[in-house]
Amino acid sequence: MKDQLVIGGHPFNSRFILGSGKFSLEMVKAVVENGGAEIVTLALRRANLKGEENILEYIPPQVTLLPNTSGARTAQEAVTIARLAREINCGDFIKVEVIKDSKYLFPDNYETIKATEILAKEGFIVMPYMYPDLNVARALVNAGAAAVMPLAAPIGSNKGLCTKEVIQILVAEIMVPIIVDAGIGRPSQACEAMEMGVDAVMCNTAVATAENIPLMAKAFCLAIEAGRKAYLAGLGRVLTGAAEASSPLTGFLEE
């Protein structure tokens, strides 16, 4: 059986989700091609849908659009932006981002839960961006989230899995896909997240700030695949003490 990522009933072969916000438009295309991403986020506030520079022309048609609500400061604003996205035919996927902090850009979990609840009831496939917290993740699932997207580190920081411990708990406890969003800076960190069992990794800055952008996209694609395979294979144990004898020390015991 194929190992697919399923979000809100939609299957995807790639577990690399691309944030498009920090690229030049023509770069988006190159990165999608090299990274094999099947989901690309789109900041609705940036979408210049009528003007010359229409981002949609740069996103290949087979790619699923994940419009986000960036710019929203309250649940209500996020809901309005989501509805607008649907009106302009961006589909039913929505990444909920509610941010009231212009310095660290940390998501406001409380408002995010409220928006998720409203949008899920309206039939959206809601993927909320969250500050990792078990209770919040549970509340988001109860509110109808199709996936949860905890941050690994402050957005744009390229610092990697700073919130690793909590993400690991989410992987163990939360039954919808866990997508690590924000903060991943290197392919090796993406790989590590995937080895831990997260379902997908989202990247933007890490690729956008690379010297060779398409090549870095490829590197992320391979790292995410490698991490996934390692997870599926089941990682060998890590020994803490002395080496383990291959013939057991207790073999002499009579049954």
């Binding site: 690229f23 609705l44 506030r45 979408a47 210049n48 902090d101 212009s102 310095k103």
Partner: protein, 384 residues
Amino acid sequence: MSIKRTDPMVYHKEMEMIPSDLLDKVLKHVDNYDYFNDTKRDVEQALSKEQLSFKDFGALLSPAATPYLEEMAKKAGSETKKHFGNNICLFTPLYIANYCENNCVYCGFNCKNKIRRGKLSMAEMDQELKTIAKTGLKEILILTGESRHHSGVEYIGAGVKLASKYFSTVGIEIYPLNSDEYAYLRKCGADFVSVYQETYNCIKYEQVHLSGPKRVFPYRFYAQERALMGGMRGVSFGALLGLDDFRKDAFATGLHAYLIQQKYPHAEIGFSTPRIRPFINNADNNPNDVHERQLLQVMLAYRLFMPYAGITISTRERAGFRDHVIGMVATKISAGVRVGVGGHEQEDKGDEQFEISDPRSVPAVHQMILARGLQPVYSDYIRV
């Protein structure tokens, strides 16, 4: 005729006073800032840090940092890329009036200067806005001279309402208001407020603002805070570099913005870095010791101190300078600029505030941005 000089620290009775201690805080730090004490070591320290303290910020503004400009530029470039990616926002200003009640000695609009005054009627404004909107721009900055009498809050409100029909972001650069007036303009569709303190040196401030409401130093200082109390999304800061000691003024500007950001975490912060320019009837007005090198140093220090803040590069600067600072440090650039009153569709109705150095059109600036491997962004905000 002798003019009665008023105390610049005393509010006029119609001016709202808010309970805040930011002014004391900023002035205290600035008083203690002696950039001659900063050493190479302080600069190196600052450059090695991820989050700059006030002291580090001061060091980057000091003369000791001059030999480190290249390093500052490299670091600033990567910070800008981290926070803003390839995006450069485009906007244009529209002067809807140039009446002014103030006598600022450095400005061509000052009430003593014999220039052609004018203000746009609603129909003219509509025409202008439509013409600008046709260029594809989605962000506009509405400016007036500072005259409550000729361009009252209602008039500006009506202009903002019109503008928000055509533009997704409307900024205003007008005289300081009370918080309820900002709330009113917010309702009309204004998103961002720019107020430039010009100089944070109270004595100099008094000397260059001879008369008019602008003379009241603290009322101007607290404008950003009142704007945020009125519900604005963001506020911009700037000192007029060259008016007084530019290092101290840049230091004060940074602290002012930083402290506002601490107090209002949601506020989107912007910086502008205007230098003194020649203006009508005063062609010799020059930026003293603020040359491009110093100007760049200030911009880089702002970027490293507040990496997430927007920085606008003015049309006052020459094209070559503007082209190089976008992406490295500036995130916002104007295009298709006219600094007379109106002038996009019809003949302008009033004289310009200062001379611009980069008259390029929107398509020309757009092409330049692309040629530098950056992405021109027209819309960065959604009206909800």
